[in-house]
């Protein structure tokens, strides 16, 4: 008796036989090819990707202009404008159409008068000067220790930047790219990608006390380019700071000593720790600039090993007096 399940196949033609054989052979060959192409000694392919290096943001030296300008005054815009004019005008540093990045210290969720971050009025002034020098875009960025949104908002820097026509760029998780710093202790670290997308970089640190490195001014401000677990750098802080300062060479630096946090740094939080100095210092030599600013914190060059380290590496001179400098009040 025939089966109940009696559906029968239909005979295939020669053409079908050839087509099916070709398909089977093709799939088998595909399996072989797959193995040939992807065979690997290692369990995981290295997810390398590009490793960046910093470009040189400096402009050529010009001995006609002073290397260090110290300006005393009450109004940051006037002070910054005077400093820039003494140094040959912002046009010397910024070419029309440049994209400029400004790196203030916006590391903490603190208010302006607590002096833990760069004075927002100075950030506003510098953004404005860059716009006047016809920069196409002015980006302001930092990688704060506290929540980035809170740090930029409560430091007053976000509002100041928007008012002056710049943009705040927040570095989110995927805004960090691997960058080789070519340092003694720091080699490949995640760095905010914005630094690789701009033409000029202006360092805009605040002068503050810091218990481990004694002070944080221009050279130490470059901590804020790094992502990752950067607090490991504390274990060799002086060489780390020198490594950072050697790898990022800014177009110019303007240090904010309008209000100086002299104790309990770098966080502060108490107005009694703040000393009003009403000064800004502009320059091209970060070592000399840091060395000058030590006076606000009652420190000397010997107390701060990273300055000697920087001088030894040719980043600048600790004897700022030997440079062509100008001091003025506005």
């Amino acid at each position: 008796m025939p089966s109940k399940h009696n559906k029968k196949v239909t005979a295939i033609t020669r053409r079908q036989l050839l087509a099916r054989t070709a398909a089977s052979v093709g799939l088998a060959a595909g399996a072989g090819l797959w193995g040939y192409l992807f065979y690997h000694e290692n369990p995981v392919r290295r997810q390398g990707g590009k490793i960046y290096t910093f470009k040189n943001y400096r402009v050529s030296d010009n001995r006609l202009f002073p290397a260090l300008v110290i300006v005393h005054g009450k109004e940051p815009l006037k002070m910054a404008r005077a400093a820039c004019e003494k140094m040959g005008g912002m046009e010397r540093f910024i070419s029309p159409g440049d994209r400029v990045l400004i790196k203030p210290n916006a590391g903490w969720d603190r208010q302006p008068e607590q002096a833990a971050n760069t004075n927002p009025a100075l950030v506003e002034a510098v953004v404005r000067l860059c716009r006047e020098a016809r920069a196409s875009e002015v980006w302001v960025t930092d990688v704060p220790i506290n929540d980035p949104y809170r740090s930029f908002a409560r430091s007053g820097i976000e509002a100041a930047v928007m008012k002056a026509g710049g943009q705040v760029r927040y570095a989110a998780e995927n805004d960090f790219v691997r960058t080789n710093l070519h340092g003694q202790v720091l080699q490949v670290w995640p760095v905010s990608r914005f630094y690789h997308e701009v033409d000029k970089v202006i360092n805009l640190p605040v002068v503050k006390h810091h218990s481990l490195s004694k002070c944080t001014i221009a050279m130490k401000n470059w901590y804020g380019i790094l992502g990752g677990r950067r607090n490991r750098l504390h274990q060799d802080i002086n060489r780390s700071i020198a490594d950072l300062a050697a790898s990022v060479r800014p177009t110019m630096t303007i240090a904010d000593a309008t209000r100086v946090l002299v104790r309990n740094g770098p966080t502060g939080g108490n107005l009694s720790d703040v000393s009003v100095e009403d000064t800004i210092i502009a320059g091209l030599d970060e070592v000399a600039l840091d060395a000058y600013c030590l006076r606000f914190l009652n420190l000397h060059v010997e107390d701060v090993p990273f300055l000697k380290e920087g001088e030894a590496r040719g980043l600048g001179v600790t004897d700022w007096n030997s440079l062509n400098h100008v001091e003025l009040s506005v």
Partner: protein, 503 residues
């Protein structure tokens, strides 16, 4: 074609309210909150008001808004469920999305089932527990459920797929459990439309009981009706509009009115030819069983080790939290505080604080830390488990004498780089936000392995200044098990969880 039908008006409301809900959850962060009532939907929830009232005899602030829903329900029935409730609207939409049925199957799916009594039993159990002072409403309340699911699983997932919702991908302790339960509830609609709303939702049960008082209802004219059952096809509540309408199940979705070819159904006062309505269908024996179960369960739930009976080191509550016993009486596990926290430190507890504390907020400093000047979690809490703080109150600036302390940090000198490995570090001191810093250091000469000496800064902690914010723990370079860790002892909210005698 008529466009301005009752059904279309309901549809407009549902789109508006679901949109508003998503918008409010999305706005619950530092940059967008700006004083808006982001916890509005939780405050509109009468079940939250009722149960927290039973546990602590107050109708807390914004929860008074829920009385509007009670009034509305008493007048016109369960309008909340299909017009306002984001959970109900989402369930309705997914029910539609998952299913394409023949009309005859729709009639079967949307007819009343005895299974729908279950929500009344859940409601009874929650009320009995609340009467004894144990608040478990957050497990089943739809507003708490959907807010928690959005805050700890859906929004992080949206961010994962590449949006700028957060600056850092949020991570949640056991978040996948919350996500799976949420997806499970949505997936149940594949088998039984609006399974959550009809069978589980205790808020639906509460509103169902209230809607028994309503005068304005769906009414069927028995003389016009030809028993075609077309009214049943798109019924939201499963309330049998073709027969004696079960008023406690009716969502007032208005579909039956539009679907009736005879014009036999209207919404309003009864007419002489209007059909009878069926009363609440619960089994008294089951109801009493549930109540008794609640009565028995309560002392069993209290004879356990939890953060109230024995302080637990891992149960560090957000700043502004009230004393643990009261906290458990107020917290509905809605996760608003977890959504709003800028550093992601607030996490849904698993069993750290006992079973009653499931999904209540705890601080896990390895993930984030409590931002010193931030009081957002205290601003969004709808039930007052976390009472509103100002920055001055939190950090103890005048006129306030003392800061709000959430715990105390302790050094693990066996793991600390300077203490154990003669390595320079003091990151904890750098980031300590108090002024003066609670972490200080002494510089000492230490002898190294090779016999040389070096000067090293050894960190120490002043417990009188430490507020327990945990930034030291979060930033510690030994970050798999930090060398400084915060535990709950010394927290301001507890009179007993203290270690130091203060004058």
């Amino acid at each position: 074609m008529k466009y301005l039908t009752l059904r279309n008006i309901r549809r407009i409301y549902s789109v508006f309210f679901l949109g508003l809900f998503v918008l409010l959850v999305a706005m619950s962060d530092f940059r967008n909150m700006k004083g808006y009532e982001v916890s509005l939907f939780l405050e509109l929830d009468p079940l939250v008001s009722l149960t927290t009232f039973l546990t602590s005899w107050t109708v807390y602030k914004g929860l008074a808004l829920s009385l509007v829903i009670i009034m509305g329900t008493v007048l016109v029935g369960r309008i909340f469920c299909s017009w306002i409730c984001p959970m109900g609207i989402l369930n309705q939409w997914t029910s539609h999305l998952f299913n394409r049925r023949r009309p005859v199957d729709d009639y079967g799916i949307n007819a009343y089932r005895p299974l729908y009594r279950m929500k009344y039993y859940i409601f009874t159990a929650l009320i009995v527990l609340a009467l004894f002072g144990s608040l478990q409403v957050g497990l089943f309340d739809p507003m708490a459920f959907i807010t928690r699911s959005f805050a700890t699983s859906l929004f992080p997932a949206i961010n994962y797929w590449g949006t700028d919702l957060y600056i850092r991908q949020p991570l949640f302790h056991g978040g996948v459990l919350i996500a799976l339960i949420f997806l499970g509830v949505l997936f149940a609609n594949r088998f039984l439309s609006r399974f959550w709303c009809r069978a589980l939702c205790p808020l639906g049960a509460f509103l169902g009981l209230l809607s028994g008082f309503s005068l304005l209802r769906i009414r069927r004219d028995v003389e016009k009706c030809t028993d075609c059952q077309k009214c049943l096809r798109y019924c939201h509540g499963g309330c049998d509009p073709h027969a004696e309408l079960r008023i406690t199940e009716c969502h007032v979705c208005m579909n039956c009115i539009e679907d009736c070819p005879e014009g036999a159904i209207h919404f309003g006062l009864p007419r002489g030819t209007s059909s009878m309505h069926a009363p609440l269908d619960v089994n008294r024996r089951r109801l009493i069983e549930t109540a008794v179960a609640g009565i028995i369960l309560f002392p069993m739930m209290r004879s356990v080790v939890n953060a109230k009976s024995v302080p637990q080191e891992g149960v560090v509550r957000p700043p502004g939290s009230i004393e643990e016993g009261d906290f458990l009486r107020r917290c509905i596990k809605c996760g608003e505080c977890m959504r709003v926290c800028p550093t992601n430190v607030i996490q849904p507890a698993l069993l750290e604080g006992g079973f009653e504390g499931l999904w209540t907020p705890i601080l896990i400093n390895k993930i984030g830390y409590c931002e010193f000047n931030c009081v957002l979690c205290s601003q969004v809490c709808p039930t007052g488990a976390i009472v509103p703080l100002t920055v001055e109150k939190k950090v103890g600036r005048p006129p306030f004498k003392k800061p709000v302390r959430i715990g105390t940090a302790f050094y693990d000198r066996g793991r600390c780089l300077p203490w154990a490995m003669n390595t320079e570090c003091i990151v904890c001191e750098e980031v300590c936000p108090t002024s003066p810093k609670a972490i200080w250091f002494e510089t000492t000469e230490v002898k190294l392995h090779d016999g040389r000496t070096r000067s090293l800064k050894l960190p120490r902690l002043d417990p009188a200044i430490c507020v327990g914010c945990g930034i030291c723990e979060n930033k510690c370079p030994v970050h798999d098990r930090p060398a400084i860790r915060v535990s709950s002892i010394g927290e301001s909210r507890s009179p007993s969880n203290q270690m130091i005698l203060e004058g």
